[in-house]
């Protein structure tokens, strides 16, 4: 009983008055409702306003299907690329000391600091018809800008940092002693990576991949510059949404937008699950350690 009254006493000492608490909590909830919940709900509301029939019709229309397909292609190529690159870069940065390491870290962050539109323009400048390698590419009949390769390139660029950024702090915290131990036990570099390094980073890696995938599917600016907006050919879902909206086809625009919103919700759920798993693992280890 003494303990309980102590707790009550302490909570009075360490918190604000009831009115302040209500005010602050209310403000925070209001802000979240206004800027996050209402817009999200409105997407689904607008999409379904004229019934499920029109909603599904808007989704299975050939141009919409082609946009979904292209978005999936871009994500399927760019996410694995970034996964491999991200692991390699994080491995190099976290486990080794070398000259130019800070330059490499800055370069990895570049896509975060550059506007996506600029990111798209870079590719137009390099491989566009008037670009540096444009004439050579035209000569050899290779289409990059206003075609799928351009969209993939732009997507790879903007999703570049996600996996590496997620892994570098994790790997730095873990150090390289386990890898050294594996080597003294006779493991090759490849065995060390698969049996020691990868299992230690798998949840962080998955987290980075989920974020990179969300960005790859939702990217607008960079892709918009290199795509050329050819209906049924070079439109991804975000670009398709814009076109439909500009044509006052609100049901179609919001139906496709709802796909992206759904993707966001699925991503959030996955992200929470991954975090929960990682946390549960750590917690179990801690609990058993103190038994």
């Amino acid at each position: 009983m003494a303990g309980a009254s102590n707790n009550v006493h302490r909570s009075i000492v360490t918190t604000e008055s009831r009115s302040v608490r209500w005010l602050l909590t209310g403000l925070a909830l209001l802000f979240i409702a206004l800027f996050l919940v209402v817009p999200l709900a409105s997407v689904f509301y607008e999409a379904l306003r004229k019934g499920f029939g029109l909603y599904f019709q808007a989704l299975v229309e050939p141009d919409a299907l082609s946009a979904v397909k292209l978005t999936l292609i871009a994500a399927l190529i760019s996410v694995p690329l970034n996964l491999v690159f991200g692991v390699a870069a994080a491995w190099a940065i976290a486990k080794f000391e070398f000259r130019g390491k800070s330059v490499l870290i800055t370069l990895i962050d570049l896509p975060f600091s550059v506007s996506p539109v600029v990111a798209g323009l870079i590719y137009v400048l390099m491989v566009g018809a008037q670009g540096w390698w444009g004439p050579w590419l035209i000569e050899h009949d290779i289409k990059i800008i206003f075609a799928i390769p351009g969209i993939v390139l732009a997507t790879v660029f903007v999703t570049f940092p996600f996996v590496a950024r997620e892994l570098i702090p994790l790997m730095e915290a873990q150090g390289s002693e386990e890898e050294q131990a594996a080597m003294t036990l006779g493991a090759s570099g490849w065995q060390t990576f698969w049996r020691v390094t990868l299992p230690n980073i798998k949840w962080g890696l998955l987290y980075g991949v989920i974020l990179a995938n969300a960005r790859a599917m939702g990217e607008f600016g960079a892709v918009s510059v290199v795509s050329g907006h050819i209906r049924g050919e070079t439109n991804t879902i975000p670009l398709h949404v814009e076109i439909l909206y500009n044509e006052y086809n609100f049901v179609g625009a919001f139906a496709c937008a709802s796909l992206l919103a759904l993707l966001a919700l699925v991503t959030l759920a996955l992200k929470s699950f991954v975090e929960w798993r990682a946390e549960k693992q750590a917690e179990a280890a801690r609990r058993d350690a103190t038994e």
């Binding site: 386990e178 131990a181 003294t184 036990l185 006779g186 493991a187 280890a285």
Partner: protein, 368 residues
């Protein structure tokens, strides 16, 4: 209740009867401007248990890592059993390395940790699953932790992790066992137990072993020979008795145990400190000298004497079996004297008593 060490649980070991010697020749290692190892030479005999002892930053861990192949020397050679191993990759050196913080694989059970070295072998030499299972359980029995096979490292205590790390290192049948501060992260009681345990283990296996420590007590208790290092160089190599009883340099004298320092001058083969005369036969005449006296090598007397150091007791501290007195001496910093409990009670010493100090043993080091 900890069970006793049972040598019959030992797995057969190929290095038994054929242990390995290590020669370290003219090794240099620098990290930027910092010289970690300065032209170092050391021979490690087959089957011995050697301690590398020194303060932090003396290069002892770097030397251990160079022997393992985890670090490359800038210059010099490492010979394993007479063969040059300088360019041999760590995974081919067949060394067992126990890391200071154990470096157990956190996502593997204890069993899988110990089995790791066997599982990563090339297909041709990889043992069958049944052999791996037996071997791992034998090793876990050896370190008396068979009942922890299914646990994860995070679920173990420090002492348990240490022993699993050792079992894991032994699983690959190393030719050399290297241990980096093996007991550094453990509390005093566990540390003392593990120390004796490691010594007994070594006596059974006779595998050439080198361990790094900054704890002189640990080195003196466990090792066959002690290498005292300072600033990338070896100060002295010898048995624990040799380095403790006949320290060759002032550094070794100070590092191995407590010491009182007196500044003096050598005059015709004698150094004088406050009346007491210490023999210094080999020191050049009229040179400044430092006299080292250990606290337990000083006799106390109530009788005034010209050939003793006069002082006054200022502090008395009871430390279990021994008693430490602090004696103020004119023109000198306080002198520490260590007595056994009985001698302290026989003398009935009290704070404020005048006292005359007589060094039984002392060493004189002249400058330069």
């Amino acid at each position: 209740m900890r069970r006793g060490f049972n040598p019959s649980l030992l797995p057969p070991h190929p290095s038994q009867g054929n242990p390995m010697s290590i020669e370290i020749k003219n090794i240099n290692k620098r990290f930027g401007d910092f010289t970690a190892l300065d032209n170092l030479n050391l021979d490690i005999a087959s089957g011995e248990l050697l301690a590398l002892l020194g303060p932090s930053g003396c290069g002892k861990t770097t030397l251990l890592r160079i022997i393992a192949g985890l670090e490359t020397p800038d210059q010099g050679q490492i010979l394993f059993h007479g063969e040059d191993a300088t360019d041999t990759h760590v995974r081919e050196r067949q060394v067992g390395f126990v890391f200071q913080h154990y470096a157990l694989f956190r996502h593997m059970t204890v069993f899988e940790n110990v089995a790791f070295g066997l599982r990563v072998r090339p297909k041709k030499t990889r043992p069958t699953e049944a052999v791996i299972k037996k071997k791992v359980h034998d090793l876990l029995g050896l370190v008396q932790l068979d009942w922890l096979a299914d646990r994860y490292p995070a679920q173990l205590s420090g002492g348990q992790r240490q022993r699993i790390a050792l079992a894991r290192a032994l699983a690959v049948e190393p030719r050399v066992l290297l241990l980096d501060e093996p007991f550094g992260a453990l509390d005093t009681k566990v540390r003392k137990e593990l120390r004796r345990w490691l010594r007994r283990l070594h006596d059974e296996m006779h595998i050439t072993s080198v361990f790094v420590t900054h704890d002189q007590e640990e080195a003196l208790e466990v090792a066959d020979r002690v290498v005292v290092m300072n600033k990338g160089k070896i100060e002295q190599i010898g048995t624990p008795e040799q380095v403790y009883d006949t320290p060759e340099t002032p550094f070794v004298y100070q590092f191995l145990g407590d010491v009182n320092l007196f500044h003096s001058r050598v005059h015709e083969g004698w150094a004088e400190i406050g009346g007491a005369r210490i023999e210094a036969p080999n020191s050049p005449n009229e040179t400044t000298a430092t006299v080292y006296v250990r606290p337990h090598e000083i006799d106390l007397s109530r009788d005034a004497s010209d050939s003793a150091i006069a002082g006054v007791i200022t502090h008395i501290r009871l430390l279990g079996a021994t008693v430490r007195l602090e004696v103020e001496v004119a023109g000198h910093e306080a002198v520490e004297v260590e007595l056994t409990r009985e001698r302290y009670q026989d003398g009935a010493w009290r704070v404020g008593d005048p006292v005359w100090l007589n060094p039984r043993e002392a060493r004189v080091y002249t400058a330069g």
